[in-house]
C-alpha cells in the first residue's frame, strides 16, 4: 500500500497507539503543528491528504480558464502578467503536491485519482471564461475568495500544509491586485468596456460565493475538520468575511452586484445577501457544471500526450545509472 517515497512516512506509527494519541491531542490543543513523522489518527491523515490533494488539483485545473485568454490578451504587458499568474498557479499546485507527498503518497497516484474522477477540485473552475473582463473578475473575486480562506488556513494544524499556505499567501496578493487593476481599466474605459465588466460581474458573483461551500449545517466534514484544527473557520464565517470586504470594492469600481436582496445590516455592520442557488451548486459539484468534463479531459489529454516524454526521460536516466555502475 505504500509508495516508495517514504522517508517522511508515518505508516509504521499509525496503529492504535495511546501514547501517540495523547501526544497528538496535546499538539492540537496547544495549537502546535503536526509534522510528517508524528503519530496521527488514520482519519486525520486521510482527511489532510484529501484536502491538500484537492487543493493542489484545483490550482492545476484553475490554470485552464485563465490560459484561455493568454493568446488574446489585449496588450503585451497584460499577456505577460497573465502568463506569470498562470505559472504561479502551477507553482502553487507543485507546493501543495509536495506537501501531500510528505504523508507517503506519490503525486502520480494523486493525479491518477483526479483523472479518474475519484478526487475532486474546486467547482469554480467549471465555469467558462467568456470575455477579457473575466480575467479581471477571476483575479478579484475568485482569487480574492481563495485568499480569505488561505489566510486563515495558514493556521492549519498540519505543518507542511501550513507552510505551503504561508508561501502561497505571499505570492497571492499580486493575483488579486492584477485582477482588480484589469477591472479598474475597464470600468473607467469606454461604454463597451464598462458593459463587459458588468456582464462579467453578473456571471461570477454567485459562483464566487459558492466557493465557500454549503452552509455549515449541511457540510459533512466541518465538525471533524474543526476539531483537528485542519479547518479553522466555518464556511459561513469565511463567506461573510469575503462579502464584507468585497462589496465596498465593487462600489468603488461602480459595478452592480447581481443581488436584489443585498442590504447593509447596520446592527451587525455586515452585508446581507440573498440565498445562493443551491440547486446550481450541487449540480456543479456532482459533475454537471458547464465544463466539468472538458476540464478533466483537457488534463487527461495533456497527461497522455506526455507519456512518451516522461518515459524517454526515465529511460535516459536509467542508462546513465547503468553506465555509472559499469564504470564503478
Amino acid at each position: 500500500m505504500m509508495s516508495e517515497f517514504d522517508p517522511w512516512s508515518t505508516v509504521k506509527n499509525r496503529d492504535i497507539d495511546d501514547e501517540g494519541q495523547q501526544k497528538f491531542d496535546d499538539i492540537i490543543a496547544a495549537d502546535e503543528k503536526v509534522e510528517p513523522r508524528d503519530w496521527m489518527p488514520e482519519g486525520y491523515r486521510a482527511t489532510v491528504i484529501r484536502q491538500m490533494a484537492q487543493h493542489a488539483h484545483s490550482e492545476v485545473i484553475g490554470m485552464q480558464p485563465e490560459a484561455n485568454w493568454i493568446l488574446r490578451a489585449p496588450t503585451l504587458l497584460r499577456k505577460s502578467i497573465l502568463i506569470a499568474k498562470v505559472q504561479d498557479e502551477a507553482g502553487h499546485g507543485l507546493y501543495l503536491y509536495s506537501a501531500t507527498e510528505t504523508l507517503g503518497v506519490s503525486r502520480h497516484e494523486l493525479e491518477d485519482l483526479l483523472h479518474r474522477g475519484r478526487q475532486k477540485y474546486s467547482s469554480i473552475f467549471n465555469y467558462p471564461t467568456l470575455s477579457w473582463a473575466d480575467m479581471g473578475t477571476i483575479g478579484w473575486l475568485v482569487d480574492g475568495a481563495a485568499i480569505v480562506n488561505q489566510i486563515v488556513l495558514q493556521g492549519t494544524s498540519y505543518g507542511p500544509y501550513s507552510r505551503a499556505m504561508v508561501k502561497i499567501c505571499k505570492e497571492e496578493s499580486f493575483h488579486a491586485r492584477q485582477g482588480f487593476s484589469i477591472l479598474m481599466a475597464l470600468t473607467s474605459g469606454s461604454d463597451a468596456q464598462k458593459a463587459m465588466a458588468q456582464d462579467s460581474m453578473d456571471r461570477w458573483w454567485w459562483p464566487a460565493l459558492m466557493m465557500f461551500g454549503p452552509h455549515d449545517s449541511e457540510s459533512t466534514h466541518t465538525e471533524e475538520s474543526m476539531a483537528w484544527k485542519i479547518k479553522r473557520m466555518s464556511n459561513d464565517d469565511l463567506r461573510q468575511k469575503f462579502i464584507d470586504q468585497t462589496v465596498p470594492q465593487a462600489h468603488y469600481l461602480g459595478l452592480k452586484i447581481p443581488d436584489p436582496e443585498l442590504r447593509f445590516d447596520s446592527e451587525t455592520e455586515q452585508w446581507r445577501t440573498g440565498e445562493i442557488d443551491w440547486d446550481e451548486f450541487w449540480a456543479v459539484v456532482k459533475g454537471d457544471g458547464p465544463l466539468n468534463r472538458e476540464r478533466i479531459s483537457h488534463k487527461v489529454r495533456a497527461w497522455e500526450d506526455g507519456a512518451w516524454v516522461r518515459a524517454g526521460a526515465s529511460a535516459y536516466a536509467d542508462k546513465q545509472v547503468e553506465m555509472l555502475d559499469k564504470s564503478a
Binding site: V60, M63, Q64, A67, I70, L71, R72, A73, P74, T75, L76, L77, R78, K79, S80, I83, A84, V86, Q87, A90, G91, G93, L94, Y97, R107, W132, I182, A185, L186, G189, S190, A192, Q193, H298, K299, R301, A302, W303, D305, G306, A307, W308, V309, R310, A311, G312, A313, S314, A315, Y316, A317, K319
Partner: protein, 259 residues
C-alpha cells in the same frame, strides 16, 4: 549611433532591424504560450511559461525601443497588435506550429542556439540601449539553450519511441534553419555601422553547437538541402496568419482603448 561617416544607419532602418528580432521573439513566445496547460508534467509547465515570458519580455523591450525610432506616432502594442502578416518580419522557424513536445523543444533548440550567438554579438553593439537589452537576453538564452539541449539529449537517447519522435521533429523543422543566417542589405548595413550583427557570421558556430547536441542525442541532421525563406520580407507560411488573427482579435475589436 555610428562611428564611421559612410556607414551611418538611418534611425528608421535601425528600428526596422529591431522589429525583426522583436517579431521573432513575440511569435515564438506566443507559440510557447499555446503550450501552457499542455506540458508533460507540472515542472515543465513552469519551465515553458518561464521561457515564454522571457521571449515576450524581450519582444516588449525591442518593440518599445523600435517604436521611438520608426516613423509616425506608434507604440510597442501598436506594432504587436496592428501590423498584418505581410508586415511581420519574423523568421519562418518560430511561426511553425507544434504537434507535441518534440516539436516544441526542437523548434526551441534550433532557435536558442541562434539566439545565444546573436545576443552575444549584440551585447557589444555600438548602440547602448541595444547592448543593454542584449546582455540580459544573452543570459536568458544561455538558460534556454541548456534547457532545450537537455531535452534533445534525454529524448533522443531515451526510448526508441522518443528517439523516433525527436528525429521526426528535427526533419520537420530543419528546412527553416537556413533562413536564420540569410543576410540582406539591412543586416550588412547594421553590422558595418557597429550597431547590429550580420547573421552570416553566426552560422559556423551555430552548426558546430547544433551538431554536437544532435550527435550526443544519437539523432541525425537531415540530408534534404531545401531551405525555406521569405520571413524577413513578410512572405510567411500559412501558419502565421491565423496565429496573428487570434493574437490581435481583442485589441483590433476595440481599437485605441486602454486595458
Amino acid at each position: 549611433m555610428t562611428t564611421k561617416e559612410d556607414t551611418t544607419i538611418a534611425t528608421g532602418q535601425f528600428g526596422v532591424y529591431l522589429i525583426r528580432h522583436a517579431d521573432d521573439n513575440l511569435v515564438l513566445g506566443q507559440r510557447l504560450a499555446e503550450y501552457v496547460t499542455r506540458a508533460p508534467d507540472l515542472e515543465e509547465e513552469l519551465a515553458v511559461a518561464n521561457i515564454a515570458l522571457d521571449h515576450i519580455g524581450l519582444a516588449t523591450h525591442l518593440f518599445t525601443y523600435a517604436a521611438t525610432l520608426v516613423d509616425g506616432d506608434t507604440s510597442a502594442d501598436d506594432l504587436a497588435m496592428l501590423r498584418s502578416e505581410r508586415e511581420y518580419s519574423n523568421v519562418l522557424l518560430v511561426e511553425q506550429p507544434h504537434d507535441g513536445f518534440g516539436d516544441v523543444m526542437v523548434r526551441q533548440f534550433l532557435f536558442d542556439a541562434y539566439q545565444l550567438l546573436l545576443w552575444q554579438a549584440l551585447s557589444t553593439s555600438g548602440d547602448s540601449t541595444l547592448s543593454g537589452i542584449a546582455q540580459r537576453a544573452e543570459r536568458e538564452a544561455t538558460y534556454h539553450l541548456r534547457h532545450s539541449s537537455n531535452w534533445l539529449i534525454r529524448l533522443g537517447d531515451g526510448t526508441s519511441e522518443s528517439h523516433s519522435r525527436m528525429q521526426q521533429s528535427i526533419n520537420r523543422m530543419w528546412r527553416f534553419t537556413g533562413e536564420l543566417f540569410e543576410s540582406d542589405e539591412l543586416d550588412v548595413a547594421v553590422a558595418a555601422s557597429g550597431v547590429g550583427a550580420d547573421p552570416v557570421e553566426l552560422e559556423g558556430a551555430w552548426r558546430a553547437c547544433v551538431a554536437d547536441v544532435i550527435d550526443e542525442a544519437t539523432l541525425s541532421i537531415p540530408e534534404d538541402p531545401y531551405q525555406a525563406s521569405g520571413g524577413r520580407s513578410g512572405i510567411h507560411t500559412e501558419h502565421l496568419g491565423p496565429m496573428l488573427a487570434e493574437m490581435q482579435s481583442l485589441a483590433r475589436s476595440y481599437p485605441g482603448l486602454s486595458w
